[in-house]
C-alpha cells in the first residue's frame, strides 16, 4: 500500500491511523491540492492587492525584470466521472490555478490544475483576453503539466522564466500566482522550511521530493512559480489542512526530470526501485549482517514482485551507496545538505535507466547496476485522471474495475465485510498473496433495476471472482465469459463467502438494450 518504492519504517497502520488508548499519535492532515474555486471579488481582495503591491515593491525580493508578466492564470472547466455509474460525469466544475511561461512557448502548471479538463483558458498578466490552451504533456505522478496556446500571439512580449537550483533551507523564496482572495496576481514571501520526500496528493500513491515553505500558498496558487533571484526554484502545488504557514512546492529536481522525460515526445513517469528499505540501527542486526556500529547502510526488507529488483536483490542485502551517495542507517542520503529518503536517488534516472548500487551481501561488498522503471501494477490504487473508467453493462449489472476512486464512492464510514474485502483486494492482495492477485480486479458496481435482475440479492459492492466458471482477471474477461455458452443461466460468483447470482441468459440479453435506454446509458461498454 502507499508507495511501493523505497519506504521507511515505522509503518503505522496506513489509511486508518489510530492508536490504542494510552498511545498518542500525531495524526497529521492529508496533503491537498490547491486549485481555487475561481476568483472572488471582495473588500478583502482589495486589501490583499494592496499588500501584494507592497511586497512587489520590495527591491530585495524581485530584482531585475518582470517575472510576473510571465505568470498566467489558468481557468479550467472540468468534469470528473462518477465511478460507480461509470458512463456518467459529474456537473461541470470551474476552477482556477496558476502557471508560467517557459522556453519553447509553453506554460508549465500542475497536472491537477488541468486534470479532467473540458476547456482550458489562460489569461496573461493584466490582459483582459482569455486564450484557449491545450495540454501538451501531463505527468500525473509528479503533478506537472505543459500547456500550449493555440493563438501564437499569446506569447508575444512574454519572457520565458528560467529554472534555478534547489533552494537552500532557510533561504527566501517568493510564490507568485493567482490565489483565491482576489482577481490580480499575488506575491507571498517566505523561507524554505525543509526539504523532504512527501506524498503527492494528486496521484495519491506516490511520494517525491518536495519543499516546504512558510510563504503563503493558497488555493489558486497551484502551478504558479516559486522564485528566487528571478529564477524558478519550484512549482507551488499543495498544502496540508490544519498545518499553519506550511505550503509545498515541487523542486527543480522533479521539474527537470519531467522536462527531460518529455523530450522524446512522450511522458513515461518516475521510476521506482521496487524495494522496501528499512533503517538498520539495531546493533545485533548490524553485527549479524557484518556491519560496524556506524551510521552507514540500510537494509532491504522486501522486494516488489515484477520489478527488476526481484532478480538482482535479496532481502537482508544492505544498501551502502546509490549512484555514489552513501546511504545512512536511517535509509536516507545526504543531498544538497538535506537528508532525504533514498527513494529520491532511485527517482533521479529516467525510466529504463539504471542506478549503480553498492551493497553488502552475505558480508561481502558487491557492485551492481539496477535498472529502474515506472511501476504500473498499482495504477488502480492511485487516483485516476483524464481517462474515464472502463465498464461493461449486462442485464443491468454494471461491471467496472476496482479502484481507489470506486472505493471512495462507498463512503469512508463503511465497515462491513464486503467493503473490507475490496480494500484488501486493492491495497494488500498484491503484496501479501501475489499468486491470487488479479491485474484488474472487477467489481459489480451497481445493478440497474429491471425485472430480469430484480431478485438478485447481491446488487453491488462485490468483487467478481468467476463468471460462467471463468476467473475474471480484467474487464475483457467479463465480456468474454458472459458471451461463452454455459446453459440457460449465467452464473456470477463473488469473492469471499462463496456467494453467487444467476441471470437467465436469453432474458438478460433481451433486457440489456432496454435497460441502456431506460437509464440513458450511451453504450453498454467502455473497454
Amino acid at each position: 500500500m502507499g508507495d511501493p518504492g523505497v519506504r521507511r519504517i515505522p509503518d503505522p497502520p496506513e489509511r486508518d491511523v489510530a492508536a490504542p488508548p494510552g498511545v498518542s499519535v500525531f495524526a497529521g492532515g492529508r496533503p491537498q491540492c490547491l486549485t481555487g474555486p475561481g476568483p472572488a471579488n471582495t473588500f478583502a481582495g482589495m486589501l490583499f492587492r494592496a499588500f501584494a503591491v507592497a511586497l512587489a515593491l520590495m527591491p530585495c525580493v524581485l530584482r531585475a525584470g518582470n517575472p510576473e508578466r510571465s505568470v498566467v492564470q489558468i481557468l479550467t472547466f472540468s468534469q470528473t466521472p462518477v465511478f460507480d455509474a461509470p458512463w456518467r460525469f459529474d456537473s461541470v466544475r470551474r476552477s482556477s490555478g496558476s502557471g508560467f511561461v517557459i522556453r519553447g512557448r509553453r506554460i508549465m502548471t500542475n497536472a491537477h490544475v488541468i486534470a479532467w479538463a473540458k476547456q482550458i483558458l489562460v489569461r496573461r498578466y493584466q490582459d483582459p483576453r482569455p486564450y484557449q490552451a491545450r495540454v501538451a504533456y501531463v505527468g500525473h505522478d509528479c503533478d506537472l503539466a505543459l500547456l500550449e496556446v493555440e493563438d501564437a500571439e499569446f506569447f508575444d512580449g512574454l519572457e520565458p522564466l528560467e529554472f534555478g537550483d534547489l533552494p537552500a533551507v532557510r533561504s527566501t523564496v517568493v510564490s507568485v500566482g493567482y490565489p483565491a482572495g482576489g482577481e490580480q496576481i499575488s506575491y507571498t514571501r517566505g523561507v524554505v522550511s525543509r526539504i523532504e520526500v512527501q506524498p503527492y496528493s494528486h496521484p495519491g500513491h506516490r511520494s517525491l521530493l518536495a519543499v516546504q515553505t512558510d510563504a503563503a500558498i493558497n488555493p489558486g496558487n497551484s502551478g504558479g512559480p516559486v522564485l528566487q533571484d528571478d529564477k524558478v526554484v519550484g512549482v507551488a502545488f499543495q498544502g496540508i489542512p490544519g498545518l499553519e504557514n506550511a505550503g509545498f512546492f515541487i523542486p527543480p529536481e522533479v521539474i527537470r526530470h519531467f522536462l527531460k522525460d518529455v523530450d522524446d515526445g512522450r511522458y513515461d513517469g518516475f521510476p521506482m526501485a521496487g524495494i522496501r528499505l528499512v533503517p538498520l540501527h539495531n546493533p545485533a542486526y548490524r553485527s549479524y549482517l557484518g556491519l560496524a556500529n556506524d551510521p552507514l547502510g540500510a537494509r532491504i526488507d522486501g522486494i516488489l514482485s515484477g520489478t527488476p529488483a526481484e532478480s538482482r536483490l535479496k532481502p537482508d542485502d544492505v544498501l551502502l551507496e546509490v549512484d555514489g551517495l552513501p546511504v545512512g542507517s536511517d535509509s536516507t542520503v545526504l543531498y544538497e545538505g538535506n537528508r532525504v529518503p533514498v527513494s529520491m536517488a532511485f527517482q533521479a534516472p529516467q525510466s529504463g535507466e539504471s542506478v549503480k548500487l553498492k551493497i553488502l551481501r552475505d558480508r561481502r561488498p558487491m557492485d551492481l547496476d539496477l535498472p529502474v522503471s515506472t511501476y504500473e501494477a498499482d495504477r488502480l490504487a492511485g487516483n485516476q485522471h483524464d481517462v474515464p473508467p472502463r465498464y461493461y453493462v449486462h442485464g443491468g449489472l454494471v461491471f467496472t474495475p476496482l479502484s481507489a476512486d470506486y472505493l471512495r464512492t462507498l463512503g469512508r464510514e463503511q465497515t462491513d465485510s464486503a467493503t473490507a474485502a475490496l480494500i484488501y483486494e486493492l491495497y494488500y492482495r498484491r503484496s501479501e498473496d501475489p499468486a491470487k492477485a488479479r491485474p484488474e480486479p472487477i467489481v459489480l458496481a451497481t445493478t440497474l433495476a429491471h425485472p430480469v435482475n430484480a431478485n438478485l440479492g447481491v446488487r453491488g459492492r462485490a468483487l467478481v471472482d468467476r463468471i460462467n466458471g471463468v476467473r475474471i482477471e480484467r474487464l475483457e474477461d467479463v465480456v468474454k465469459a458472459l458471451d461463452q455458452p454455459s446453459g440457460d443461466q449465467q452464473i456470477i460468483e463473488f469473492s469471499g463467502r462463496g456467494g453467487f447470482e444467476c441471470l437467465d441468459r436469453a432474458a438478460a440479453a433481451e433486457a440489456t438494450p432496454k435497460i441502456l435506454d431506460t437509464y440513458g446509458i450511451p453504450s453498454d461498454r467502455r473497454l
Binding site: 489510530a18 522496501r276 539495531n282 545485533a284 526488507d301 501479501e432 431478485n455 440479492g457 440457460d488 456467494g499
Partner: protein, 491 residues
C-alpha cells in the same frame, strides 16, 4: 348513559383496579428480583499486564434451589460479587456457580441464610407471547420501578457475548440505561432478561430459551449452544433456483460456504438448497414458520429444541434430487475462531521478550479502540476476522508494541504486526513463541512477520534478550514477563 360515558366509566374502574394490581404486583416482585454488585477486571488490552477493575450493578432473578439468575456479562472476570435484596440495606457476599457467555446466562448464590429468607422464585414463561406490551422492572434508588415497554419483534441474532445466533425478544422503550439484566414481565411471569440496548430497541433474552438451557443444565445434558457452521444466501432469485434445477414451488436457502469455524465434518455442500430443517420447511428468504414465534431465520433451529452435539435432520436439494443429511451441531466456542471474540476465564495473555510485546490477536484487543473499533482499529488486524482458522494456523500472535530498551533500538515504532515465524518455527500461540525463543540461531532471535508490504523481519541479540526483559519489566513496572493462559472457561 351514553355509550361513550359508559366506556369512560369502565375505563376508570379498570384503571383503579389495575393500579391496585400494579402495587401488589410490584410488592410481589420485590421478593423475586434482586440486585447484584459485580466488581470485575476491566482489562486494558493495550497493557495486558494491568488489571484495572470496575464495579457495576445489575439485576438478578430468584430461582428455586437458592440460585440467582442473571446475564453472563461482566461475570467471567469478576473479583467480587455481592447480592442485595429489597433494593437497599445489607450486601451479601456471593459466588458465581455457573456462567455460559454464549447463552449470556449466569447463576450466582450466597451462603448467607438471611439473604434467602422470604424470597420467592420467579416464574419463567414457557413461551413468550407477542406483547403487545410488557412491564420492565428494575431497582432504582432503593425502589422497584415498573415501566411499560412495547413489543417490537422476535428476531434471531448473535448473542451479546456470542457469535451464535439465538432467539431474541426485541422491545421498544425510551428508557435509558437498560441492558443490565432488567426483568421483562407479563402477567406475573418473567418473559426475559435485558442484554443490551441500541437506539430505542432493547434486546431481551427470552424466557423460553432461558428455561430450556436451565432445565438441560439441571438434567446434566447441557453441552452449550450449538450453531450452524455454514453460510447461506436466500433462494429469492428464480434464475438461481432454475440453475439448481429445482422442481416444484420456489423454496429454500442456498448454501454458500460449508465450514467456517469448527472442525465438524461437512455434511452440506456448496450450492445445496436447504429445503427443510428439523422438519420445518424453509422459504426462499431462509425463514421457517415457528409455531410460537412466527417467521424466523432458519438459524434459530440450531437452538430451538437442540443443543450442541445434537443432530438436526435437513432435507436438501442436491444435483437435481432431494437428499436428507444429518447435521451435528458444533458447540459455539470462541477458540474455534481465528480471531476469538472473547477469551474468558483468564487474564489477557502476553509475552515480553527484550521489550517486544507479543499478544494473541483477539477481538478484545481490537475493541480497545472504543465504540468505533470496527472503523478505528488497524485495518489489517481487523481484516483477519474475515479469515478462517486452518490446522496449521488455528490462531494468530502479533507483535503489538515495543517497549523501548537498548536491546531493541531501531524497532521502537514497530507494532501491530502478525508474527509468521520466530527462529524458523511457525507461530500460532504464545506457547509457540516461548518455545521458539529457546532456540536462537547464530546468536540472534529472528522474528519474521506475515508476508506483505509491511516490515518483514527483525533480529534481537539472543544473549542479551533475557537481561533486557528483566530490565524492561523493572523500568515499565510490569509484574511478569508472561501470562500464558491456555484453558478457556465457559466455552
Amino acid at each position: 348513559m351514553s355509550l361513550f360515558r359508559r366506556l369512560v366509566a369502565a375505563a376508570s374502574l379498570a384503571a383503579v383496579f389495575l393500579g391496585a394490581l400494579h402495587a401488589a404486583d410490584l410488592r410481589s416482585w420485590e421478593r423475586s428480583y434482586v440486585t447484584l454488585e459485580v466488581t470485575y477486571k476491566d482489562y486494558d488490552y493495550s497493557q495486558p499486564w494491568s488489571k484495572p477493575t470496575r464495579t457495576v450493578r445489575k439485576g438478578g432473578l430468584v430461582l428455586a434451589d437458592r440460585e440467582i439468575l442473571t446475564t453472563a456479562q461482566h461475570l467471567p472476570g469478576a473479583t467480587l460479587v455481592r447480592l442485595q435484596r429489597g433494593g437497599r440495606g445489607k450486601w451479601y457476599d456471593a459466588r458465581v456457580t455457573w456462567t455460559d457467555p454464549h447463552a449470556n446466562l449466569a447463576l450466582v448464590t450466597t451462603d448467607s441464610e438471611a439473604f434467602w429468607d422470604g424470597l420467592k422464585p420467579a416464574e419463567l414463561a414457557a413461551v413468550v407471547p407477542p406483547g403487545p406490551d410488557f412491564n420492565l422492572i428494575r431497582w432504582r434508588d432503593g425502589n422497584l420501578e415498573s415501566r411499560r415497554v412495547e413489543f417490537s419483534k422476535f428476531s434471531v441474532r448473535e448473542g451479546a457475548l456470542s457469535f451464535a445466533p439465538q432467539l431474541t425478544l426485541e422491545v421498544n422503550t425510551e428508557l435509558a440505561g437498560l441492558g443490565w439484566a432488567e426483568a421483562v414481565t407479563l402477567d406475573g411471569s418473567v418473559v426475559g432478561l435485558t442484554a443490551s440496548k441500541s437506539g430505542n430497541t432493547c434486546q431481551v433474552i427470552p424466557s423460553s430459551l432461558i428455561r430450556r438451557v436451565l432445565e438441560a443444565r439441571r438434567a446434566g445434558s447441557y453441552r452449550g449452544l450449538g450453531y450452524f457452521d455454514f453460510t447461506w444466501q436466500p433462494g429469492e432469485n428464480p434464475a438461481t433456483l432454475r440453475f439448481l434445477k429445482l422442481s416444484g414451488p420456489e423454496r429454500g436457502a442456498v448454501v454458500t460456504e460449508v465450514v467456517t469455524r469448527s472442525n465438524t465434518p461437512a455434511v452440506l455442500q456448496p450450492r445445496d438448497l436447504i429445503l427443510e430443517v428439523d422438519g420445518f420447511p424453509v422459504d426462499v428468504e431462509g425463514d421457517y414458520d415457528d409455531p410460537d414465534y412466527g417467521h424466523l431465520m432458519l438459524e434459530n433451529l440450531a437452538t430451538r429444541s437442540k443443543f450442541a452435539g445434537d443432530t438436526v435432520p435437513m432435507k436438501v436439494w442436491r444435483d437435481g434430487a432431494e437428499k436428507t443429511v444429518q447435521y451435528v451441531l458444533p458447540a459455539a466456542a470462541y477458540a474455534d475462531e481465528l480471531v476469538p471474540q472473547h477469551s474468558f476465564g483468564h487474564d489477557p495473555e502476553y509475552l515480553i521478550a527484550g521489550g517486544l510485546v507479543f499478544q494473541p490477536l483477539e477481538q478484545s484487543y481490537l475493541r480497545a479502540w472504543g465504540d468505533e473499533w470496527q472503523r478505528r482499529a488497524p485495518f489489517r488486524l481487523r481484516h483477519y476476522q474475515n479469515d478462517h482458522p486452518t490446522p496449521e494456523r488455528p490462531s494468530l500472535v502479533m507483535l503489538s508494541v515495543v517497549l523501548p530498551d537498548p536491546v531493541n533500538v531501531g524497532y521502537q515504532e514497530v507494532r501491530f504486526l502478525v508474527v509468521d515465524q520466530i527462529n524458523g518455527r511457525k507461530i500460532a500461540t504464545l506457547s509457540d513463541v516461548a518455545a521458539a525463543l529457546k532456540e536462537p540461531r547464530d546468536g540472534v532471535h529472528r522474528f519474521e512477520f506475515m508476508p506483505g508490504d509491511s516490515l518483514q523481519r527483525i533480529l534481537l541479540d539472543a544473549a542479551a534478550t533475557d537481561t533486557a526483559t528483566r530490565r524492561v519489566l523493572q523500568r515499565y513496572g510490569i509484574p511478569a514477563a508472561e501470562n500464558l493462559a491456555s484453558t478457556e472457561a465457559g466455552g
